[in-house]
């Protein structure tokens, strides 16, 4: 453990790394939310249909009768 701690201590300005990391993520997150907000409706539609485009509901169960 000492080895790790010593190495870390010798990196200049390491105390800023976590804060920079946090910052990067915050920005990533804000960008993500904006992107998601502007995602087109057709694309969203296409994505959310991915599990459903294959019909393997050949089983007759009460819950599958909508097919």
């Amino acid at each position: 453990m000492k080895i790790i701690a010593n190495t870390l201590e010798n990196i200049a300005g390491i105390e800023w790394y976590p804060i920079i990391g946090l910052f990067i993520f915050l920005i990533f997150f804000i960008v993500l939310i904006i992107r998601v907000m502007y995602l087109g409706q057709d694309e969203v539609q296409e994505l959310s249909q991915l599990p459903l485009d294959r019909n393997d509901n050949f089983v007759k169960e009460p819950n599958n009768q909508l097919n």
């Binding site: 870390l8 969203v44 599990p51 459903l52 009460p62 819950n63 909508l66």
Partner: protein, 715 residues
């Protein structure tokens, strides 16, 4: 556009499915056994490998890694190829993954009950098994990521991201938390000690809940609920935000398992803040799952599959609301170390993981066997048994946890503890333990009915080993220009790296100051390393799983200081590889058990008799007897090796001490045994119990030593 033909392999899904069912029932039966042992402590009959401390880790490991583990692999091996329109990357890797994982489970079952354990909760397995886990996990990861790379769909559905995040994070957690230095083939010490070890362990433990029990099952939720309801997920946009917020916030919340402990305040505060924020993505996910069923509630009423999913997602919502609640310091002061925690995790395990798994199995079996479910009625009965079983399990334990905690804290008008005798608070909650057994039995009965139902279903149908499908190759999408998040999801490797970065940031922010800033763990000069005999005793303590019932962490509350002695300081734990704070007080805290002037102190002869038969000394005790500790010869052949490993880890034994360790050990053992013989106990020097007594009497004494001397002789 040319269509390519390919097939999905159901054989691997079936293997994992059967393993899920097999290990599920095994893990639950072990759980039932230990629940019974808390009411009938003599049940283990003096058989070491049946005792509570040995079986409890087997139960937790079996349920988490064997039942839920195989469950999530079932879900992934079924859904990933279908979502990506390609077979799994490699059938061979799939087989290695399957059989490797089952071998690991068998290895766990053959080591944990026999006392081979690291002594860190949910990370008990010894180092050779840890290495095997890492290797098999990487096999799984390669198979998953390469399948994603080879996909025929342009976009990657959200379930797949949850799967990839699961792979990446569990790999990191497992490796970081399992760095141990071996003493022998089945014995090792973690490189971290005390508070630091605790921080790493709960960073792991908490995120194992997040990334082993939650993210893969959320992925399955996003696949199987739309499948079973035959409608798309309520909000795809919400699922994107759900994903990133969840994986980013979760990784920080680990320290909430260590509130009021010797962990520095800033780390505790970090854990609390992020835990509270976690409500948002968790509930976003729950709402997304439930609203997928909007307008389909008539179907829910008729379909056991959907009913199980609804209860599962509701249980997810309950536990993710309760989790942040439990991480508020004021609530945690009451809930921690009590049965409240047990209730909380079982809402998650029985409700969320259990019900999701059962729902998935009821949905999968008829499809893989091309038939109908043998009996919807039996499945409905299972649903009710599981739901009521879960409630009969959890509600009494909430009550027990709350009631016992209040008893621990209650003072009389004159300022004395109202229940100074710990056992008084235990007997009060035993009836609740009885009801819990009823709940567990109901739940397991449901599982047995399910097994019957599924076997009947399989027998009625014919197994579909492979299913055909066709899709255009991925290249045909290449002309479409992508932007934003979809560019990201189009590049699985980049995506994997980003997910990795997200979880590493949280980890690093927690660890860097903890390992670097010396003031976080003020050194206490009177704290000395364990003597060789105490070290052996400590290893017995770990082997017997005493930490499953006893904490070693006195929190700074008047009620605890009064009951147990001065609260625990971070600096007292610096030689504890591994830490033994514990998480549950079925018995009293032992952090100051050895302090002669302390409220708990007992002479050696008391401990000797107590280990032989706790009930002889405390009639209503639910601690199991440990007669084998009295009978077994202490194996001290590895003591020099142990001392030198400790030296490697930075424990300041004088140079060359490893060579004189054996003599020191025998000398101290002789002193203790002689003392016992003087009191008329017929005992030889080198019994295991002697070492354990040496350790117990050392506990908490360091800061009470006034003359500056030490039990540890420094020649």
């Amino acid at each position: 556009m040319e269509l390519q033909k390919f097939t999905y392999d159901n054989k691997i899904t079936r293997l994992f499915m059967n393993a899920t069912i097999l290990w599920g029932i095994v893990g639950m039966l072990v759980g039932l056994t230990i629940a019974l042992e808390l009411v009938f402590p003599l049940m283990s009959g003096g058989i070491s490998w049946l005792s509570f401390g040995r079986l409890r880790p087997l139960h937790t490991n079996a349920v988490i890694f064997a039942f839920v583990g195989n469950g999530l692999f079932t879900g992934i091996y079924y859904s990933a190829p279908r979502l990506l329109k390609t077979p799994m990357f490699s059938e061979l890797l799939g087989k290695i993954h399957f059989w490797g994982w089952q071998l690991i489970i068998v290895a766990a079952a053959l080591t944990l009950p026999f006392g081979f354990t690291v002594g860190k909760e949910y990370a008990e397995l010894e180092w050779p098994i840890d290495i095997a886990i890492a290797l098999i996990w990487v096999v799984f990861g390669i198979n998953l990521i390469m399948t994603t790379v080879k996909r025929r769909t342009k976009h990657i559905y959200v379930a797949i991201w949850f799967y990839i995040a699961t792979f990446v994070t569990v790999a990191v957690l497992h490796i970081v938390n399992s760095i141990n230095i071996p003493v022998s083939l089945l014995k090792s010490y973690p490189i971290y000690a005390g508070v630091q070890d605790a921080l790493v362990q709960w960073w792991y433990g908490h995120n194992a809940v997040a990334f082993f029990l939650t993210t893969p099952y959320l992925g399955m939720m996003y696949y199987f609920i739309p499948k079973a309801a035959n409608r798309p997920v309520y909000s795809y946009k919400l699922s994107i935000i759900h994903f990133w917020a969840l994986i980013f916030l979760y990784i920080w919340a680990g320290p909430h398992h260590l509130l009021y402990t010797a962990l520095p305040d800033w780390a505790q505060a970090l854990g609390v803040v992020f835990s509270v924020m976690l409500i948002a993505p968790s509930w976003g996910g729950m709402i997304n799952g439930l609203l997928t069923l909007r307008g389909a509630w008539d179907k829910v009423r008729e379909s056991p599959v959907l009913k199980m999913f609804v209860v599962a997602v509701t249980a997810y919502g309950m536990s993710t609301f309760e989790g942040p609640l439990l991480s508020l310091k004021s609530v945690n002061a009451i809930s921690h170390f009590t049965d409240w925690t047990i209730a909380h995790v079982h809402i998650g395990a029985l409700g969320w993981n259990g019900m999701m798994t059962f729902g998935m199995l009821y949905w999968l079996f008829p499809r893989i066997y091309k038939t109908q479910l043998f009996s919807t009625k039996l499945a409905n009965i299972h649903f009710w048994l599981a739901t009521t079983g879960m409630l009969f399990f959890a509600i009494p334990l909430y009550f027990a946890g709350f009631a016992q905690s209040l008893m621990w804290k209650e003072f009389t008008a004159d300022g004395y503890l109202k229940y100074p005798n710990f056992i008084e608070t235990v007997t009060q909650v035993i009836p609740m333990y009885g009801i819990r057994i009823l709940g567990g039995t109901l739940y397991i009965t449901g599982v047995i009915i399910m097994i019957f139902n599924l076997i009947k279903t399989a027998n009625a149908g014919t197994f579909v080993a492979t299913e055909d499908d066709e899709a255009p190759a991925l290249e045909s999408h290449a002309s479409v220009i992508d932007k934003g998040h979809r560019t990201l999801e189009g590049k699985p490797l980049l995506f994997t790296l980003l997910a990795l970065a997200a979880i590493l940031i949280g980890g690093i922010i927690e660890f860097v100051p903890m390992f670097m800033v010396k003031s976080n763990i003020p050194t206490i000069s009177s704290v000395k390393p364990y003597t060789p005999l105490e070290l052996e005793g400590r290893d017995i303590y770990i082997r017997e799983g005493c930490y499953n019932c006893h904490s070693q962490m006195i929190r700074p509350f008047r009620s605890e200081v009064e009951r147990y002695g001065d609260y625990t300081k971070a600096g007292e734990t610096v030689y504890d590889h591994p830490f033994q704070f514990g998480s549950k007080r079925t018995g009293p805290d032992l952090a100051r058990e050895g302090v002669k002037t302390g409220p708990l102190y007992k002479p050696n002869s008391w401990h000797y008799n107590h280990f032989f038969s706790p009930q002889k000394l405390v009639a209503e005790s639910i601690m199991p007897p440990f007669p084998w500790l009295i009978a077994n010869e202490l194996d001290y052949s590895k003591i020099s090796k142990k001392i030198s490993v400790m030296q490697t880890l930075g424990v300041p034994y004088p140079e060359g001490y490893a060579n004189q360790a054996k003599d020191e050990l025998l000398k101290q053992a002789n002193e203790i045994a002689q003392g016992l013989r003087n009191e008329g106990i017929d005992v030889t020097d080198t019994k295991e119990v002697i070492a354990l007594i040496a350790y117990i009497q050392r506990l908490g004494t360091d800061i009470h030593r006034t003359d500056g001397s030490s039990a540890f002789t420094n020649k």
